[in-house]
């Protein structure tokens, strides 16, 4: 076991002082001179033609500086997915019709929020409602209202992939029967596999939408300088490169003139990754008025008009041998896309690829469609398909084990892949801590002894999940620069975004370890597109494995330069030298030393002014360009997988069906814990988020209207809803990770949800095939069993 100085310690977070003193600046706090406040008028119909919009009265209201509608943005399309196959389908504001309640129809910029809101009331819109459809299966039936016509790219318009270098032109797409996305992944021969199975089980699960409920609402501040053409943006986001790209593409502002500023972000969880209509609207209003514009959404708008996690109907058919060997699996998905494609084509792919590292299934078919419905869009949420699939697969694993009289833990262990395996898509499992995760969590929780033995209304359950570590997406690289300072400290420039997950601390730890420094000696300039090199930031689960690794590489580069110069100064070989405490020593003679600042001064004087700047960069998967095929699932897509095994112990009040989670154990393979306190915090946060997903979170609709768009009716766990949480480090260092580290922010949530679902089954023996396990659902299940 390697011993490190600063790696693996729970050192204080570098953003501590700002956050505990209230000085941390979020976009929500940004205030600029002469700033205007913008509000959006939203559709009250789920499907309607816009016959007329009259903004004249609103424009006359004193204090109103600009009013815009879809007329200004007509024909502009954007979207998380904009590929040759799937053209971007989302307008900035509704044009000739609205497709969901909450869609942006008009926007006002005024001297204060009250005036902006008053102006919204003065905008007259004449709608002609048309038939709407809310259920994806109904939407796919013949005769259902067609939400979109053929999606034809505007003449000359390149899709995003083309802009990013894929030499394939965009095609038009016809969403026949409202189908807007499809996936069909397979290997082996599932028909043969099922024929060879001794036992086949098929179950269908329904996973609803949930919301991220980040504490900072969504919003943006945009400041366009009409004289220079520069646009400054402060976003509540997960990475500004995607935003810069889309603001550039939709508004024609050169990307080099769009600056994303450093801000702290009040939570993201995947819900702030894509470019949003309100960001483009804020930039447009700023350009139109020549003044800064602040546009923040109220909490109900965050629920209705940003995005929710993807709702899926998941049919799983599995064929196994009597001894538990899995022979075949066939999964069919129906995704509820909402009014625009969102990230559903990606999610359908991820539902397979997030979990393919877990079980060795020789014959597999994974097919799915996403259907348009007249509801808001859906996107990633902390796992992006992993949570939904894990619920279904892991519940069914337990039921199959029960049907065959197998131990569920042994059943899982038996079918795991092995370290070093090459997956069907040719990803390689260079690290694979999952068996250890399972063993450790089973031991810590005493799962074997407790299963079925805890008494009436009490149960214990186990589930596993996995997660990727970055993949190819714009801008396809993460890069870092480190400069030497004259006091022997260094400054790291890296664009990662701090939304709680800790990169501002962990990347400094990596650099400090490599350069023999204390973490305090590593200054950080982060999160700013002008000051930092390019980075795809923090929504692709690559913050640690890809971006922090670029910081480590920059440190390695700088170290090499330091040692080379020191070697020259000390007349030694560089291999004979080491770094420690802002100095370089000869390993064999600790008396002979030069300080970092002496080296810097020497280099500047003797090497033509060379100030010693380290550079590092990294792609998610070095060998691939661009992407795997989303629809066929072929091609490498990530260079490492993280793993979690979780156990939950629950008590179910059999008179009411209400479940209380008593204890969660979560064993996680994150390669190496760089900062133990931050890692524990990620696992604890995911565990509690999982309690919400499993037991009560659901975005509810009535005829397309979000009925629980607030924190009263959409309940998330609070301080008394939390069980004991035991976190266990079961890391298997990855040879390609920085000091072996992999991600820890997204994997555990799915395993915890699955473990709670399985624990409730152990307690009640009620087969619930939908989330959440709301008390009434369990109550009815128990009642049916008694009758």
């Amino acid at each position: 076991m390697a011993e490190y100085r600063v790696i693996g310690k729970d050192l204080p977070r570098k953003d501590s002082i700002e956050k505990v003193t209230g000085k941390a600046l979020y976009s929500f706090d940004v205030s600029l001179p002469d700033m205007l406040y913008a509000k959006i008028l939203r559709s009250v119909y789920s499907h309607a033609r816009i016959v007329n919009i009259d903004t004249s009265e609103a424009e006359k209201l004193p204090g109103v500086k600009a009013v815009i509608t879809g007329k200004e943005t007509w024909g502009i399309r954007f979207g998380f997915v904009d590929t040759p196959r799937y053209p971007a389908d989302q307008p900035v504001m509704a044009e000739d019709k609205v497709c969901y309640i909450g869609e942006s129809v008009a926007a006002v910029a005024a001297i204060d929020e009250d005036t902006a809101n008053e102006a919204l009331d003065l905008i007259e819109i004449e709608y002609e409602p048309i038939p709407a459809v809310f259920d994806p299966e109904e939407a796919m039936n013949e005769g259902a209202p067609q939400i979109h016509g053929e999606q034809v790219p505007a003449p000359g318009r390149k899709c995003a992939w083309q802009d990013w270098g894929v030499a394939r032109a965009a095609r038009s797409f016809n969403p026949v029967n409202n189908i807007g996305a499809a996936v069909n992944i397979g290997y082996g021969d599932t028909e043969k596999g099922f024929a060879e199975a001794d036992y086949i089980r098929e179950d269908t699960f329904v996973i609803p939408r949930t919301n991220h409920t980040c504490m900072e609402p969504h919003g943006a501040v945009a400041n366009y300088n009409p004289f220079t053409g520069y646009l400054d943006i402060w976003l509540s986001h997960m990475g500004y490169e995607v935003k810069r790209y889309w603001i550039s593409k939709t508004l024609g502002i050169p990307i080099g003139k769009i600056r994303g500023h450093k801000v702290f972000v009040g939570g993201a969880f995947g819900g702030k990754a894509q470019a949003f209509d309100y960001e483009i609207i804020a930039a447009l209003l700023s350009r139109k008025t020549g003044r800064p514009v602040k546009l923040f959404l109220a909490r109900d708008e965050v629920f209705t008009s940003t995005n929710n996690s993807v709702a899926l109907k998941i049919n799983v058919k599995k064929g196994v041998k009597k001894d538990g060997t899995i022979m075949a699996q066939h999964v069919k998905l129906i995704g509820d896309m909402g009014a625009y494609r969102g990230s559903v084509p990606v999610c359908l792919f991820l539902c397979h690829s997030m979990r393919d590292a877990i079980y060795n299934i020789p014959n597999l078919t994974h097919e799915g469609v996403g259907a348009y419905t007249n509801k808001s869009t859906t996107m990633s949420k902390r796992g992006h398909g992993s949570q939904q699939m894990t619920t279904a697969i892991e519940a069914q694993m337990d039921w199959i084990a029960e049907d065959l009289g197998l131990d569920p833990a042994e059943f899982r262990l038996k079918n795991l892949r092995n370290k070093g395996d090459i997956l069907p898509n040719r990803d390689r499992l260079n690290s694979y801590g999952l068996p250890d995760c399972i063993k450790k969590v089973v031991e810590a929780s005493k799962w074997k002894e407790k299963r079925g033995q805890l008494g009436p209304g009490r149960g214990i359950g186990l589930a596993v999940s996995s997660m990727f570590n970055g993949s190819g997406y714009w801008p396809f690289t993460c890069a870092s620069i480190i400069k030497m300072n004259h006091d022997g400290t260094v400054t790291l420039y890296n664009a990662q975004v701090e939304f709680g997950q800790g990169p501002t601390t962990t990347m400094c730890q990596l650099v400090a370890e490599e350069l023999g420094l204390e973490v305090e000696d590593v200054n950080l300039v982060d999160g700013d597109s002008e000051l930092c090199p390019v980075d795809y930031n923090n929504w692709l689960s690559g913050g640690m494995f890809v971006s922090c690794k670029s910081a480590l590489r920059a440190a390695q580069d700088l170290k090499q330069q330091l040692l080379k110069v020191a070697a020259e100064m000390l007349e030694e070989d560089a291999e004979a030298l080491q770094v420690m405490g802002r100095r370089v020593y000869i390993k064999s003679d600790l008396q002979e030393v030069v300080t970092f600042d002496e080296i810097l001064r020497y280099s500047i004087q003797k090497h033509d002014g060379d100030p010693l700047i380290g550079k590092g960069f990294n792609k998610a998967v070095p060998e691939i360009e661009f992407y795997p095929s989303l629809s066929k699932g072929s091609g490498r897509w990530t260079d490492a997988y993280s793993f979690t095994a979780a156990v939950a112990e629950v008590s179910v009040d059999e008179e009411t069906g209400r479940t209380k989670v008593d204890h969660i154990w979560v064993a996680d393979d994150c390669g190496r814990e760089i900062n133990t306190a931050i890692c524990q915090g990620q696992l604890q946060g995911q565990s509690v988020m999982g309690i919400g997903d499993a037991l009560f979170e659901e975005v509810m609709f009535s005829e397309g209207r979000t009925v629980n768009a607030n924190f009263v009716d959409y309940e998330i766990p609070r301080a008394l809803d939390v069980s004991q949480i035991t976190t266990i480090d079961a890391s298997d260092p990855d040879p390609n990770g920085p000091f072996g580290a992999k991600e820890i922010g997204e994997c555990a949530r799915a395993a915890v949800i699955g473990s709670i679902v399985n624990a409730v089954y152990d307690a009640t023996k009620v087969n619930v095939k939908s989330l959440p396990l709301h008390p009434e659902k369990i109550f009815r299940g128990l009642r049916e069993k008694t009758n």
Binding site: D114, E655, R658, D713, E715, R718, L720, D721, E776
Partner: protein, 290 residues
């Protein structure tokens, strides 16, 4: 929030006078823990906001053994929660306050404001009802005192006239050998209440001399379950009787189906909560002083 004229008053008389003058164009502001949300969302837009929060004569708590408790409408929830007097005389009230909203809301929100808001899911009304509470309403023209049960008319509607304000809550002294309990159901601990039940049991010679049962969140107002009370009264309470009373309360309830629960499930919860609250009240009655 839309604009309004802000009027702070220091006496009940002033408040009533302004209400008489402005009638339906005015709204009373006490703690505002329910009202502010409605104002911010422009669901309510009064032309006049009469701030009574700091009227000294509405903030008091007096008890005597003959008349019982007289509590000013502006007594805030946190005071009720922490009051040694209430912990001694009517312990169910401080106990119930622990599940009302959050500490921050309880620090500023008032008991009067909550009752006037008339949300049928409110936790404080059922225990106050079974304690036989009365409320005094005053206007420029006079005053009237009515049983608390008669205050509520419908969802968020009371009998309070345009020119009246709630002045005082009165609770008669708790008789000897009496126990009171409140049980609520919410999915998360501090979540929205799906059903609630308060039960008062008074024992005499081993028999239930008096029983009161009040339910929240299962009708348009907090309601008494008279039939269920009748099942308990005059008999020695045993499990079977409790079960019958719980069943009757479930039948008498008039719940709706909404996004949180079906009416059928709410009726099932009433059974469970009445059963549990009755058992608890019975134990407390047995332990109480003669």
């Amino acid at each position: 929030m839309r604009e309004f004229e802000y009027l702070r008053v220091n006496t009940v008389k002033e408040a009533c006078s302004l209400l008489s003058e402005h009638k339906e164009e005015a709204k009373i502001l006490a703690g505002g823990q329910s009202l502010l949300t409605l104002l911010k969302m422009n669901i309510l837009s009064p032309s006049y906001l009469i701030d009574i929060k700091f009227i000294p004569e509405l903030n008091y708590m007096d008890f005597d053994d003959k008349d019982g408790l007289r509590m000013g409408a502006l007594t805030n929830h946190r005071t009720v929660e922490k009051s040694p007097l209430l912990k001694e005389k009517f312990p169910v009230l401080p106990e119930t306050e622990l599940v009302v909203a959050s500490v921050q809301t309880r620090n500023w929100g008032t008991i009067g404001g909550t009752l006037v808001h008339a949300d049928p899911i409110g936790d404080m009304a059922p225990p106050l009802i079974v304690l036989d509470s009365r409320v005094k309403l005053v206007s420029s023209g006079g005053e009237r005192t009515i049983p608390l049960t008669e205050l509520f008319v419908d969802f968020f509607m009371t009998v309070i006239e345009e020119d009246e304000i709630l002045h005082e809550i009165q609770i008669p002294p708790l008789p000897p050998r009496t126990g009171v309990a409140y049980q609520k159901f919410s999915t998360i601990e501090a979540g929205i209440k799906i059903a609630g039940a308060a039960v008062l049991v008074k024992l005499e010679d081993g028999v239930c001399k008096d029983a009161k049962i009040a339910l929240s969140a299962v009708a348009s107002v907090p309601m008494r379950s008279i039939g269920a009370e009748g099942i308990l009264k005059g008999k020695p309470i045993n499990d079977k009787l409790i079960e019958q009373a719980a069943q009757m309360a479930s039948t008498e309830a008039d719940p709706v189906t909404d996004m949180h629960a079906t009416d059928e499930y709410r009726r099932e919860l009433v059974k469970v909560l009445v059963r549990r609250a009755t058992k608890m009240a019975l134990e407390r009655a047995k332990a109480a002083k003669s």
